[in-house]
Symmetry: C2
Subunit: 341 residues, 2 copies
């Protein structure tokens, strides 16, 4: 039987020490990490990019089915994903956490094990943050810092008419993974004896619980000498992100329905839940893939990439944002995204 | 009568636009602010410092007596204070907020008015962040970025034997301001007709509700060519911060009780609450003054500064951390700080 230690036994400074002792620094730009009023970073000739996201228990994750280690990993990954979407390399993060009274030292260790693992995988240094108590559940607020050579940052505003619209991986799976987890939670609450059969859903559940930032694609694009003209990560849903790119670039877009990348498990789950798979792909969100545009002249460089789908083209603004089917019919695209309020 | 607009009418993107439209950029290092996956910053030859803090309603502030504008101002000021404590100049912040369902657009505008005012006063650019919903109250997580010339950052670890221990302003007032506000809240709850008489307490209440980061002192030290050997800001309390400096510098310290800076209103309030004023000064916290050490050779430069008190000296580690009275008697100092868990 595992012994559990209440946080009060450790105290705030004990907790900070516990976190600090497990931190390894990997980046030469990290001059001073945890343990002072602020971290010190030396980006030398580079520009730095900064992004920040907050995840709340009960809003962004449900501890009924999301292990704390995955919560920690995901909190880092979604921030790294924003850095990736700038065509930058993540270097440091700060982590602020608020913990409810029911949290034990072991729970916090599990959370930070996920954070540590993500730092290792993305080669990022945890350099600071804040720990405090919460009257409700767990709150994690992460700020990620990355570096990029001057002129190499890719904004949302650079898409030009005739550019190709590309997306990495497949879409909609994270949303359907969440539907399955929610259903299993309800089934478990109704009958705690029931054992869920989730083997055939592992991929889509994994997409929800432990998404990855596509730093692999960022490195790969660099190797292939492709610089996207615009880029954004898919957190709210493909349609919503495309609207951001079009609005900020002052362009329109046509997406080809048949080119949208879908995973087999996602399609089966959509059928099971009686959901339109195209809607899941367009509006599902939380896939953390990269949506980007490249110049038409880069077509040969991207066309055979196993992990990149060419899903459409940038048009003149006056044409609007449309979804086209194989019969050449075109319909205006709707962006749902997430409504927080 | 003021009309109130529910946040749901505005939506997340409407809220982001509302925030973005009021932002002014002041620093040439801010290349790209709000509106992309990450902000882009170009610190040129400088090092950057990064600090992050989270404030929760019901834990760090009480909206019963703390206006939202002050909450916004304070959230920025406490982060800027950490940047100041590194001997750095703040340049950018990111702001993550989570809002409960009862918040109106007008309330969010008031909060951001405080943030905007602090950005103006400290010459800081709001460059990004995240807005989300909360099942409970307001949560604000801010990351502040600053710049400092290479080699000029002041850490907690540089104090040397015989250094002078200095502190800015006066201490203990923020803590007593909080006691008064808590008492008036209870009195109001017991009898809503009662009008509090707070005119004579304005200074100490202001110290609690709207603290300032001592960037003025940082600029002043630079002008006088004083570089502290170690520095920290007083958030948890003087004693607790002194313990950090001594632990990280591997030294001891003696504080002279009679040199501790106290404000008249604070002393009166301590009497009123039957609290030992020295305990309030040593452990009160939230004053956001700067505690720093300077070489003995800088004595002439600091001795007549109107806003700096020389409160002690650094000793060998073996002597421990002590409080000395005018009769030469010395007692080991206790650090209480804040217990979050």
């Amino acid at each position: 039987m595992t012994a559990y230690t209440p946080l009060s036994e450790l105290g705030e400074f004990g907790l900070i020490k516990l976190i600090k002792d497990k931190v390894e620094l990997r980046n030469s730009s990290t001059i001073k990490g945890i343990g002072d009023d602020a971290a010190v970073i030396e980006p030398s000739e580079k520009q730095i990019v900064v992004s920040s996201d907050m995840l709340l228990e009960g809003i962004h994750f449900d501890l009924a089915f999301c292990p704390l280690k995955h919560v920690g990993y995901k909190a880092v990954a979604v921030n790294v994903s924003d850095i990736a979407a700038m065509n930058a390399t993540p270097t440091q993060i700060t982590v602020n956490i608020a913990l409810g009274a029911r949290y034990t030292v072991e729970a916090v260790e599990e959370l930070y094990e996920g954070i540590r693992l993500a730092c290792e995988n993305y080669n990022v240094d945890l350099v600071g943050g804040d720990t405090t108590s919460s009257r409700t559940g767990l709150i994690i607020s992460i700020t990620a810092i990355g570096e990029v050579a001057k002129g190499e940052a890719v904004l949302r505003s650079g898409a030009k008419e005739n550019d190709l619209i590309c997306v990495t991986g497949d879409l909609g799976a994270a949303y359907l993974g969440l539907q399955i987890l929610e259903r299993e939670k309800q089934a478990f609450l109704a009958n705690p004896e029931m054992q869920p059969e989730l083997d055939e859903k592992q991929y889509i559940i994994g997409r929800q619980l432990r998404p990855e930032a596509r730093m692999d694609v960022i490195h790969d694009l660099k190797e292939r000498d492709i610089k996207p003209t615009s880029m954004i990560d898919v957190s709210d849903g493909l349609a919503s992100e495309l609207f951001h790119i079009c609005a900020q670039s002052g362009v329109g877009a046509t997406i080809f329905k048949d080119n949208l990348p879908a995973d087999e498990q996602m399609l089966e789950a959509a059928l099971e839940f009686n959901l339109d798979p195209i809607t899941c792909i367009l509006n599902g969100g939380e896939d953390y893939e990269l949506l980007f545009t490249v110049a038409l002249s880069d077509y040969d460089k991207v066309k055979n990439h196993p992990d990149i789908s060419i899903i459409g083209k940038i048009t003149d603004k006056s044409e609007g944002i449309n979804l086209a089917n194989k019969h050449g019919q075109s319909f205006p695209l709707q962006a749902q995204g997430w409504k927080h309020f």
